[in-house]
C-alpha cells in the first residue's frame, strides 16, 4: 500500500479561492476508464457534520457551519447531480429522543440543498449506540447500491456494529451484488470509516474492511470516498484509491501525529480552517476527472 504523493497531483485553484484541485489523470489509477460508457456528471461529498455538537471552543459557529456549507454547495457554478453525506450526520447522544431530534433538524437543514438527490449513510455517532435504528427511521437502509450514468455506487455501513465491522451478512450481500457485474464497470464505494488500516489505534479502520476490498479487487476502476477522520487524506491499496473528506464541525490531527487524538482548536485568525467539502466531477475522458476541495464559506467560483 502506498500513500499518494501530494506533490504529484496537487494543483491550486485560481487566486486561492477555489480550493485544491486534484486531477485523476495523474493518479496511479484512473477513477474512470475512457471506454466504460461513463457520462459526464458531478457529485458533492459532505461529511461529519456532527449536528448537536456544541463546544464553542472547538467551533464557535457549531450551529451555523452546516447551513453555510449548504449555501456554498447551492452556489457552485456547476450544479452537482447529487450530494452524498458520508456519515456522522449528528453527534452522538445516549438519549434516543434527542438523537431523533438531531436527525430531524439535520434533515431539515440539508433539505435546502438545491439538488435532485441526496444520499445518506450513518457514522458511528448516528448509529453505533442503537445499531442504526434511529438513522433507518429517517433515511432508510444503512447499506445499499445505486447506479448513476454508468457508475455503480456501493454504500457500505461499517458503523452500526459498534466494533466498526461490516459483518458477514453485509459482506455476503456485497459479494452477491458484485458477482454479476462487468469487471470494467466503474465502482465508487461510499462509506464512513476507512476500509484499510489507516490508524487502528485511533479507530481509523474497519475490522473486516480487507474482505470488502478483496471483493472489489477484480474490478478495474474502484474508488472509495469516506469520512470519519475529519481531514483530507489520499491513499491507495493496490489499484483502489481511497479519499477521505474534511469535516464540517472540527478538524482532527494527521494519523498518529500526536499522542492523543483530539479536535484541532479553532483558530480565530483563520476561521473554519481545516473544514470544507468536496466536489467530484468527471467526464468520459478520465484525464478530466477532478476532485475539488472547497472551503465552508461561500466563495467566488
Amino acid at each position: 500500500m502506498d500513500d499518494l504523493d501530494r506533490r504529484q497531483f496537487l494543483k491550486l485553484g485560481g487566486a486561492g479561492v477555489a480550493g485544491a484541485v486534484y486531477v485523476s489523470g495523474l493518479w496511479p489509477q484512473r477513477v474512470f476508464g475512457a471506454s466504460t460508457g461513463v457520462e459526464d456528471f458531478g457529485f458533492v461529498q459532505l461529511s461529519d457534520t456532527h449536528w448537536g455538537f456544541g463546544d464553542p471552543s472547538v467551533n464557535p459557529d457549531f450551529a451555523g457551519t452546516l447551513e453555510k456549507a449548504v449555501a456554498s454547495v447551492n452556489g457552485l457554478r456547476r450544479r452537482p447531480d447529487f450530494v452524498v453525506f458520508t456519515g456522522d450526520l449528528t453527534h452522538t447522544t445516549d438519549d434516543g429522543d434527542e438523537r431523533r431530534r438531531r436527525l430531524a433538524r439535520f434533515r431539515e437543514i440539508v433539505g435546502a440543498l438545491q439538488v435532485k438527490s441526496v444520499r445518506f449513510m450513518p457514522g458511528e455517532h448516528d448509529a453505533s449506540l442503537d445499531r442504526g435504528a434511529a438513522f433507518t427511521e429517517f433515511f432508510g437502509d444503512t447499506h445499499y447500491v445505486f447506479d448513476h450514468k454508468g457508475v455503480h455506487f456501493v454504500v457500505l455501513d461499517n458503523v452500526s456494529d459498534p466494533t466498526g465491522s461490516l459483518g458477514d451478512a453485509q459482506l455476503a450481500w456485497l459479494r452477491d451484488d458484485l458477482a454479476t457485474r462487468d469487471k470494467a464497470q466503474p465502482i465508487i464505494v461510499l462509506t464512513h470509516r476507512p476500509l484499510f488500516d489507516l490508524a487502528p489505534q485511533w479507530d481509523w479502520a474497519t475490522r473486516d474492511g480487507a474482505q470488502a476490498l478483496e471483493a472489489l479487487v477484480p474490478f478495474e476502476y474502484v474508488t472509495v470516498f469516506y469520512g470519519h477522520i475529519h481531514q483530507e487524506h489520499h491513499h491507495t491499496t493496490g489499484h483502489i484509491a481511497h479519499h477521505s473528506a474534511k469535516s464540517l464541525i472540527f478538524p482532527l490531527p494527521a494519523p498518529m501525529s500526536v499522542p492523543k487524538k483530539a479536535p484541532i482548536p479553532w483558530n480565530p485568525a483563520r476561521p473554519y480552517d481545516g473544514l470544507g467539502f468536496r466536489s467530484v466531477q468527471t467526464t468520459h475522458h478520465a484525464e478530466d476527472t477532478t476532485l475539488v476541495e472547497w472551503p465552508v464559506a461561500k466563495v467566488s467560483r
Binding site: S128, P162, G164, D203
Partner: protein, 115 residues
C-alpha cells in the same frame, strides 16, 4: 460469570509468545466502564509473565494496545484473559475500540513496562 482465554495476536518483538496461563503468573484485574478503565495505568516488569483479566461493568468495550500487539473484546459478564510477557521497557497506550458513546475517544490508559 463465564471466562475465556483470549488468543491475542502478539508482536514477538515486544512481548513474549502468548501461551496458556500458568498458575504462577501474576494476575491483574482490569475493569472497563464508560469511559474509563480501572486501573488506567498498569505497571509491569520487563520479562515478567502476567495475565490481564478484563471485564466490563456496563456494556461492550474493547481493549487495544497496538504497540504490544494486544486486542480483546471486553464484555459484561465475561472475563477475557490476555497473557503477555513484556520484553520492552516503555509506556504503551491502550484504548477502547468499540464505540461506546460521547466520551469513547477519552477511554484510554497506559501500560508502563519497567526494568
Amino acid at each position: 460469570m463465564t471466562s475465556r482465554l483470549l488468543c491475542a495476536w502478539v508482536l514477538a518483538a515486544s512481548v513474549g509468545l502468548a501461551a496458556p496461563a500458568h498458575g504462577a503468573d501474576r494476575v491483574i484485574r482490569v475493569t472497563a466502564k464508560r469511559f474509563e478503565y480501572a486501573p488506567a495505568e498498569i505497571t509491569l516488569r520487563r520479562g515478567e509473565p502476567v495475565v490481564l483479566e478484563l471485564t466490563s461493568l456496563d456494556r461492550d468495550h474493547g481493549f487495544r494496545c497496538d504497540e504490544l500487539g494486544l486486542r480483546a473484546d471486553v464484555k459484561p459478564g465475561e472475563v477475557t484473559r490476555v497473557r503477555l510477557v513484556p520484553q520492552q521497557v516503555g509506556r504503551f497506550p491502550f484504548a477502547c475500540d468499540v464505540f461506546c458513546g460521547d466520551g469513547h475517544e477519552d477511554m484510554a490508559g497506559e501500560i508502563d513496562v519497567v526494568e
